[in-house]
């Protein structure tokens, strides 16, 4: 079993999974929407089947169609990636019912951790501290939530019970603004997960978002692969992740790691997962949630441990024991990931769509780029704006930052705007260099205008560049006008065009 894997995803993570399968000699089956016929995961897979139209609800969220393709293709295993159906208990259950290996946790663990309210109460029972909030409750109404809010205290967070990726999440500063925010959070959660349920959580200020990578096998072994610091977020979307965390020490890592393992064990966890914590200024830490799937930022852990997490997932899914014991896990050097999004940092980070006409990846020592895009590929409004992950490794954190600067400077993407300049400013910022940031840093202290000043100012060069391009455009339009005037010689033009286009 696990000889042919259907990858129920798209984009860079589908490509990532196909790569691991190929290196293990496992066949791969891609699924794709009409917008993704030319996507890299379709090009790289051994087999490929159309799911339906571009919108996710008609394609990548169509559990029924995906199960049909599993049967049609003869796949004996499914990898869900992240997002879409990755944390859907019914998907894992449907596979189990059909005798298909689901490369992920058991349905029961997804259910326990997938509903964030249930997850909190489960880990509390196991003795793990959680951020104060709505405990041990299912689907609360707006009235209930408005009544509970003052007891938790403001500021607080509305979070989607089915959530992840910042979708359906809202910060609330006062009771007055809460009804409107509840509505928009539910709307966004419904649209993202097909489930509008939300819960409340105290907003811990000045905190860092620290998560631990967990691996568990079917023989009861659970290990962690160290932490990732994911505090740099904007609108609750992670933008930069790094490992080790600049605030971590060996003792704290051991304590948090042990709690993470305990949390995973509390739901009889299997395969890869991530335990998210908030770490406050006094190094108190609180369980936030568990992501019962492969995480976007898993490569930074791979860079410092040398462990291929996706290959380990397949190993464990095959029923074998983990290839590593806790004491085999050594962290070497430092790794950073910048998420490259198709959005304009100079225009409120608005999404940017279009056809990629050129893409030159940074390469060389210590660099990894995970992406599903290439020149000619169309970035559509249907899916996540993340078009690539730029990951670097350095012998030290300082070297990793310098390498990341070099890589960002080299990266060229033409056709859509990207947030590369944002990352460049971030890598230049003294607070980032000092490791002094929390989950509010990007929104509260960081502005593109202010930080641009860290970079050299070349106004004359910019003026010359812009003027030459404007001039060339004027010249070209003048030619078109002249061409339009050229009535008498139209016959000549015909010949010329014909020759050019033969």
């Amino acid at each position: 079993m696990v000889n042919k894997v259907l990858v129920a995803n798209r984009g860079e993570i589908a490509v990532r999974i196909i790569r691991a399968c190929r290196e293990l000699g496992v066949e791969t089956v891609a699924v794709y929407s009409e917008a993704d016929r030319q996507a890299l995961h379709v090009r790289y897979a051994d087999e490929a089947y159309l799911l339906g139209p571009a919108p996710s609800r008609e394609s990548y969220l169509r559990l029924d169609k995906i199960m049909d393709i599993v049967r049609k293709s003869g796949a004996d295993a499914v990898h869900p990636g992240y997002g879409f159906l990755a944390e859907r208990e019914d998907f894992a259950q449907a596979c189990a019912d059909d005798g298909i290996t689901f490369i992920g946790p058991r349905p029961s663990a997804i259910a326990a951790m997938g509903d964030k309210g249930v997850a909190r109460s489960t880990v509390v029972k196991a003795g793990v501290k959680v951020v104060p909030g709505t405990e041990d409750v299912g689907n609360l109404s707006n009235e209930d939530l408005l009544a509970l809010a003052p007891k938790i205290g403001f500021p607080l967070l509305i979070k989607a019970t089915a959530g992840g990726g910042g979708k359906g999440m809202r910060e609330v500063r006062s009771l007055e603004e809460m009804p409107a925010l509840l509505m928009s959070a539910r709307r966004e959660a419904e649209s993202a997960f097909g489930d509008g349920n939300v819960y409340l959580e105290k907003l811990v200020e000045g905190a860092r978002h620290i998560e631990f990578q967990i691996m568990a096998d079917g023989q009861g072994n659970v290990i962690h692969l160290g932490e990732r610091d994911c505090s740099l977020q904007r609108r609750h979307q992670k933008l930069v992740e790094e490992t080790p965390s600049p605030v971590m020490d060996e003792e704290l890592r051991a304590r948090m790691g042990a709690v993470a393992v305990k949390a995973a064990q509390s739901v009889d966890y299997l395969n890869a997962g991530t335990i998210e914590f908030l770490l406050d200024k006094d190094k108190n830490f609180y369980f936030l949630e568990m992501n019962t799937r492969l995480q976007v930022e898993h490569p930074i852990t791979e860079m410092v441990t040398g462990i291929d997490i996706v290959k380990e997932q397949i190993r464990v899914a095959r029923g074998r024991t983990l290839g590593y014991k806790q004491e085999d896990v050594k962290l070497t050097g430092a790794a950073i990931e910048c998420r490259i999004n198709a959005e304009d940092p100079y225009n409120g980070f608005l999404p940017s769509t279009g056809r990629i006409t050129q893409a030159i990846l940074p390469t060389g020592p210590g660099i990894r780029v995970d992406t599903g895009m290439y020149p000619g590929f169309e970035i559509t409004p249907y899916y996540d704006p993340m078009i690539a992950k730029l990951i670097v490794w350095g012998e030290t954190r300082a070297q990793a930052i310098l390498r990341m600067r070099r890589a960002l400077e080299e990266y060229r993407v033409v056709g859509v705007r990207t947030n590369i300049p944002f990352h460049q400013s971030m890598m230049d910022s003294t607070r980032f260099m000092a490791g002094q940031y929390d989950t509010r840093f990007v929104e509260e202290r960081f502005s593109m205008e202010g930080l641009a000043e860290s970079r050299e100012y070349f106004p004359e060069i910019a003026a010359i560049l812009g003027t030459i391009v404007a001039h060339q455009q004027t010249q070209r339009s003048a030619q078109i006008v002249r061409r339009g005037e050229r009535d008498a010689s139209n016959w000549k033009w015909v010949g010329r065009w014909e020759r050019m286009h033969r």
Binding site: K167, S184, R187, E188, S191, A192, R235, A342, E343, Y346, N347, G348, L350, P351, S352, T353, T357, Q358, T380, P381, Y382, Y383, D384, P385, L408, E409, R412, V414, I420, P421, Q424, S425, D428, M448, A452, R455, E456, Y457, F458, P459, E460, I461, A462, A463, I464, L465, G466, T467, I468, V469, A470, H471, Q473, T474
Partner: protein, 165 residues
């Protein structure tokens, strides 16, 4: 050809002399300027220094992104400059604001009605694209004019959504 290029409030007089020479405020410079493999990416070698840049045209002028920093500039030839001076500054500021979709997407909601008095910064339209809900705000105070789209509608990039008078 001479241009007046404005950047961060400063004016530069730039003359394009020929393919390899420009004058900036009277100083002649040798330039080696190329578009890289036909893309809107430009390589400029000037005084031995190598700069690579994206140059985008926008509704207001040009954006030049080079070495991790973006510059917003306007480029006018002398005739355009005179015309604008005669017209008494930018007409756009005083006039109507037309909100256009900055990207393709789905209109999630329109929290204003035609005729509403609104503040600067007030949300006019919530547009979903790439799984994110984006609030499109008014750059000025005024009154909401005609609303051209409905909730639930899919819009193209640059499609007119509504106006503010």
């Amino acid at each position: 050809m001479k241009y007046i290029t404005t950047l961060d409030g400063k004016e530069y007089l730039i003359e394009i002399i020929d393919a390899h020479h420009v004058a900036i405020d009277g100083r002649v410079q040798e330039v080696d300027f190329e578009s890289v493999s036909g893309q809107p990416v430009y390589s400029l070698i000037i005084d031995g220094k190598s700069y690579e840049s994206y140059v985008y045209e926008t509704e207001d002028g040009w954006q030049v992104l080079t070495r991790g920093r973006q510059y917003n500039l306007t480029v006018e030839d002398e005739r355009e400059k005179r015309l604008r001076a005669a017209a008494g500054g930018s007409v756009a500021e005083a006039g109507e604001y037309h909100l256009k979709a900055p990207m393709p997407g789905l209109v999630v909601s329109i929290p204003v009605n035609e005729g509403d008095k609104i503040e600067k910064g007030q949300v006019l339209v919530i547009l979903e694209s790439m799984k994110m809900q984006n609030e499109l705000k008014s750059p000025k105070a005024g009154v909401v004019g005609r609303i051209r789209v409905k909730q639930g509608e899919t819009v193209e990039q640059r499609q007119a959504l509504l106006s503010v008078q």
